[in-house]
């Protein structure tokens, strides 16, 4: 009987197009959008920047710098789209171009640059100290491309310094290995966001699906009508939550399909921990929906409560960005948020990102929430139904 009813509830949910859209399709769309935007930011491949070079000098060192920039603008995978200006009186106009986004960076070889480099070399040879020649770089604030382009220029300057020094002295170069700690597979945005989206999809269903739907049942006195049917309250709730379990599995499968097949995530979705945290998310977030329905006067207020909780819990649960170092007056939302523990736990145990909390807490806290939400909701439901 419970199984049969659960199938009915499940089919009924699938017939509701808005429900399917927001709980199943939307998380997938969100995942695709986030991966499209952020993956390219972390890879920084095949990116080239519009760069202006102001070169009013024509000495040896200015020409070397010019040559390096030009070489990096010619190759197949060029880094710069270079425009060279020889008149430095144009600087104000070029800065206007930078502000208007026509270029990402301005590099200026200032007047007297060559003589400064030569004097610097002479001073170094005579052991009279150092006075480096400045290469002026204008960067646009709040512009990621501009900052990235400046990093490339910084590397060029570092390399040039090393090459010049090599001509004067024997220099030993060292290899550098960059290691990102906390992840078994290095940084992958797809791996980072995929388990988060699985939790988010379950969160949406708990908040808007279960919360609003159960309130609607209560508001329409549908729950009371069940009393005159052979279906007991217990049967009703078991069937209902079993149907949501099917929905959660469907959500997890679809998000997993997109993550694994389309974006080649390396996350092992067959691991015990993946199942454990998905199950914990199902328990705690669906009981949160139950809790909302118990305290909402009507469907509209359930929607409003859902919206109020949605953004703070979503953004301060660490799904999209780390939230461990937020100020104390906002930290409490992070600490009481069950999503914080679910997202941290699933990522840590899957080797994606270390959890800032002990692992036992990431299991215990969602379980406490489940028990608390269920206890209060059942009591409240009993009272409401009696009255």
């Amino acid at each position: 009987m419970i199984f049969k009813n659960s199938i009915y509830f499940f089919k009924s949910a699938l017939r509701e197009r808005a429900y399917v859209f927001w709980c199943v399709v939307f998380p997938v769309i969100l995942m695709v959008i986030l991966i499209t935007i952020f993956s390219s930011m972390y890879k920084v491949e095949k990116v080239n920047f519009e760069v202006y070079l102001i070169k009013s000098e024509s000495g040896e060192f200015s020409n070397i710098i010019f040559q390096v920039f030009e070489d990096l603008s010619k190759v197949e995978n060029k880094v710069f789209n270079l425009k060279v200006f020889k008149d430095d009186s144009l600087k104000d106009k070029l800065i206007e171009d930078l502000k208007r986004g026509r270029t990402k960076l301005i590099v200026e070889i200032p007047e007297g640059f060559d003589s400064l480099v030569i004097s610097n070399i002479s001073m170094k040879m005579l052991g009279l100290g150092e006075n480096s020649a400045p290469l002026k770089v204008y960067i646009l604030k709040h512009n990621v491309s501009s900052q990235a382009a400046s990093m490339v220029v910084r590397n060029i300057v570092d390399r040039l310094n090393l090459e010049f020094a090599k001509r004067m002295s024997k220099i030993k170069e060292y290899e550098v290995k960059t290691e990102i700690v906390g992840s078994k597979t290095g940084f992958s945005y797809v791996d980072f966001i995929y388990p988060g989206i699985v939790i988010l999809a379950i969160f949406f269903t708990g908040l808007f699906g279960i919360g609003q739907e159960l309130t609607w049942y209560r508001e329409g006195k549908i729950l009371k009508r069940f009393r005159i049917t052979p279906i007991s309250s217990l049967n009703f709730f078991f069937s209902y939550f079993l149907s949501r379990l099917y929905l959660f599995i469907l959500q997890a499968l679809i998000v997993t399909f997109v993550g694994k097949v389309l974006y080649k995530s390396s996350v092992n979705f067959l691991s015990f921990y993946f199942f454990l945290y998905v199950f914990l998310a199902m328990l705690s977030l669906s009981s949160m929906g139950f809790f909302i329905s118990a305290f909402s006067k009507n469907t509209n207020s359930a929607g409003v409560i859902g919206q109020i909780l949605n953004f703070p819990l979503q953004f301060l649960g660490g799904i999209y960005f780390p939230v461990s170092d937020v100020p104390w007056f906002i930290k409490w939302i992070v600490v009481i948020n069950p999503i914080t523990y679910l997202a941290a736990g699933i990522r840590d145990t899957l080797g994606i990102m270390p959890s800032p909390y002990p692992i036992y807490l990431t299991i215990v806290v969602p379980l406490i929430y489940t028990a608390l939400f269920l206890f209060i909701s059942i009591r409240k439901y009993k009272r409401v139904e009696l009255t």
Partner: protein, 356 residues
């Protein structure tokens, strides 16, 4: 005139009674400001783009010396590598440098890398600086002098740069007011009932539009006020342009709501489509996230989204971004014209459809 004012006032009052609309237009933008403000507000980078806390093993004296000469690096010393790694893992420091005599290992904390992917170049810069340090040429021959140029007249933090995005979110709620007016009201034949009242349906629609418009402006001004009060962001506001941008953006979003109502007969479907569109626009129009690294086809796509222009017009008006006044004027003209044309066509249709 009196019925028009009454309808307008009714709409403004009903806005505060309709908890969902009130929440979406007024509370959520404020919640957004607070979350983004407190989460991102303090994470300003140093002048060299790094601004990082780097750990090192105490016995690596030379590494400490080299790091000490690098700009915007705060050094933390630890007894051994295990201790260093533990602090990086916990997120107490952004990264660390170890040296085995032949090779440097630059260890980055996962979260730090996620927030600042360009930090990956730090290791390379450090190793070159170390090589120069070994031969006593710490300063090198050339130094890079960085000057950060504010894109507009106002000098604002990253949070200040996000605010037009939050305002865009608030403005985009105008889409739903038109879906309610032209979708739900049509479905429930609300406007038809005005045939038996002395109020002209056109007056009703105009009053409703004006009511929504006033609420939209008020919501934007309130967000701006809260931002100024809590985060002390000093915009260089051109009030004429700001009010023009906000007004025309609200009308433009209303026009989009009308288009959705025309495309989807069922108001609930139009509402869902509107919600999806708002989400896509918020992500792809560059109001929250930079578009610089997107593939070129997505950059082109972004330029077809009205919120891209709303964000830009607001940034220019708030003095965050440099731009020509002709951009704001042209943008406003297009938004207002689109609204007027669509409201005229849909206004006629709404009565025809209800009469059928």
């Amino acid at each position: 005139m009196k019925p028009f004012i009454s309808v307008t006032l009714y709409r403004i009052k009903s806005f505060y009674r309709d908890t969902f609309t009130f929440l979406f237009s007024l509370i959520l933008p404020i919640v957004f400001v607070l979350i983004f403000g407190f989460v991102f507000g303090e994470r300003e980078m140093g002048s060299n783009g790094y601004g990082v806390k780097i750990g090192v093993i105490r016995s690596d004296v030379e590494i400490v010396k080299v790091l000490g000469k690098m700009e915007n690096v705060k050094i933390f010393e630890f007894e051994n590598e295990a201790d260093l790694r533990n602090h990086i893992l916990k997120g107490n420091i952004d990264g660390g440098v170890t040296f085995d005599g032949e090779k440097f290992n630059f260890i980055i904390n996962f979260s730090t890398f996620q927030q600042n992917p360009f930090l990956r170049t730090f290791g390379e810069s450090f190793s070159k600086a170390y090589s120069l340090h070994e031969v006593g040429m710490d300063k090198g021959f050339i130094k890079m002098e960085e000057e950060f140029i504010d894109p507009g007249k106002a000098q604002v933090s990253s949070l200040g740069y996000i605010i037009p995005g939050v305002l865009s979110f608030s403005i985009s709620s105008a889409i739903f007011t038109m879906i309610a007016l032209f979708g739900y009201y049509r479905k429930r034949k609300v406007i038809k009932r005005f045939a038996v009242t002395p109020i002209n349906p056109i007056i009703f629609i105009s009053g409703m539009v004006l009511g929504n418009f006033v609420v939209g402006i008020f919501s934007c001004l309130l967000v701006l006020l809260i931002v100024q009060l809590i985060f002390h962001i000093n915009f260089s506001i051109n009030w004429g342009f700001f009010l023009l941008s906000v007004s025309s953006s609200i009308l433009g979003m209303m026009a989009l709501g009308i288009v959705l109502t025309a495309l989807f007969r069922e108001p609930q479907t139009a509402n869902n489509a509107g919600n999806l569109l708002v989400n896509i626009m918020l992500f792809f129009s560059g109001v929250y996230f930079p578009l610089d690294f997107l593939p070129s086809y997505l950059k082109v796509f972004a330029k077809f989204l009205p919120l891209y222009y709303v964000g830009r017009a607001l940034r220019i008006s708030l003095g965050i971004e440099e731009g020509r006044s002709s951009f704001v004027l042209t943008f406003s003209f297009v938004m207002i014209s689109t609204f007027l044309i669509l409201v005229f066509i849909s206004g006629r249709n709404i009565f025809n459809l209800e009469e059928r």
